[in-house]
Symmetry: C2
Subunit: 218 residues, 2 copies
């Protein structure tokens, strides 16, 4: 496995992530992804994941270019969902892969310098992704969520210690987390929390980012 | 622009292509893409494009791996539709991009060694793709086609001389071409003809490949 200075710096930056916002146009109450990004930056988050599964590639590429320009100016990490080629094309910091995407070890060969995150839903998936070279994992869904159609039933917050306790790479947790239940995950040791609608559907997105970050800081 | 020995060899192999078969699972009369591939190889075609827009990435990757193994054994070129990352992951010979996919010049940076083909529907698009570094173009649709939903109206066979006459890179033509009308395109100078259903929906796929190739040879 190739490592390098760029990836090491990205891992270092990732270690400081608390709130991990993820975009989703169709669940953003009519707000644009760019307006979500602006609120995320103003709220002080150190990362954002661009996740848009319904756009043609060229439109996604152009949106990713905009995200890259703005996040670079802000010194914030940019992760692209699913697409290794688009992540490389815009010089994103990372790519996030699901269980139905390219295998981690294959993505790693194509992109030695990218952070690779992997969505996992069990201890087996988490250990496998770690072994294949994932830089970080996502564990979820912790609570019921509408963000993904037909996904697995939720794991419950105890998965944070059960699965998270068995892996050595950093992990985010995700799935139905909001201001009302985030204490349940923080109290179980979650240091990095990924959310979509807790920001995109908040009355005040910037304020939501700040409040969620404060709760993670404890 | 980077060129290299691998790409040069691929361009040389592409120059010998006559029939350019493209897969499409939903328009294959229940046949598997692998059975289409086998017929294409038996019929003597020198290239195949794997085009599947409905599969999850990992399933597409696995299918592309199978295609790569089989085409490599047969000494036949493999082109992957749309996806630069999957083309690189399986060491395909090329990637084929539409007007809504990654721009050619960006794809070229990611994949200096791949043949890059581009679908074009006008002289402007053809000249732009050539200028941006396409190794070959596709010009179409020549005749009405059901393969793509809501695509442009057809160009008519005279586009072969009108558009093809203005470009210097090799080009395939496509769109509604079958055994009954292929003479109209060959007589206008088409040397490379791309088809989907003329093979996938033929009663005898292997025989269809042979007959179409004979007609192109003139």
């Amino acid at each position: 496995m190739v490592d390098n200075a760029t990836r090491s710096k990205r891992k270092e930056a990732f270690s400081k992530v608390d709130l991990y916002p993820v975009t989703c146009q169709r669940l953003s109450a009519g707000r644009s992804n760019l307006s979500v990004l602006q609120a995320v930056l103003k709220g002080g988050s150190r990362i954002i994941q661009l996740r848009e599964t319904d756009l043609p590639d060229r439109a996604l590429y152009k949106m990713a270019l905009d995200f890259r320009r703005i996040t670079s100016e802000a010194g914030v990490l940019l992760v692209i969902n699913d697409r290794v080629d688009i992540a490389l094309a815009v010089d994103a910091d990372g790519v996030h892969l699901g269980q139905d995407d390219l295998p981690v070890d294959i993505a790693r060969k194509l992109a030695p310098e990218l952070l690779i995150g992997v969505s996992t839903h069990s201890t087996d998936e988490a250990l496998r992704a770690q072994k294949q070279g994932a830089d970080y994992l996502n564990i979820g869904p912790i609570f019921p969520t509408n963000t993904k159609d037909g996904l697995h039933r939720f794991l419950g917050p105890d998965a944070i210690t059960e699965i998270g306790g068995k892996v050595s790479v950093p992990f985010t947790i995700m799935g139905g987390i909001n201001g009302s239940n985030i204490d349940q995950v923080v109290s179980r040791g979650a240091k990095k929390v990924a959310v979509v609608t807790a920001i995109t559907q908040a009355i005040d997105m910037e304020e939501a980012v700040r409040l969620l970050r404060q709760k993670i800081a404890g």
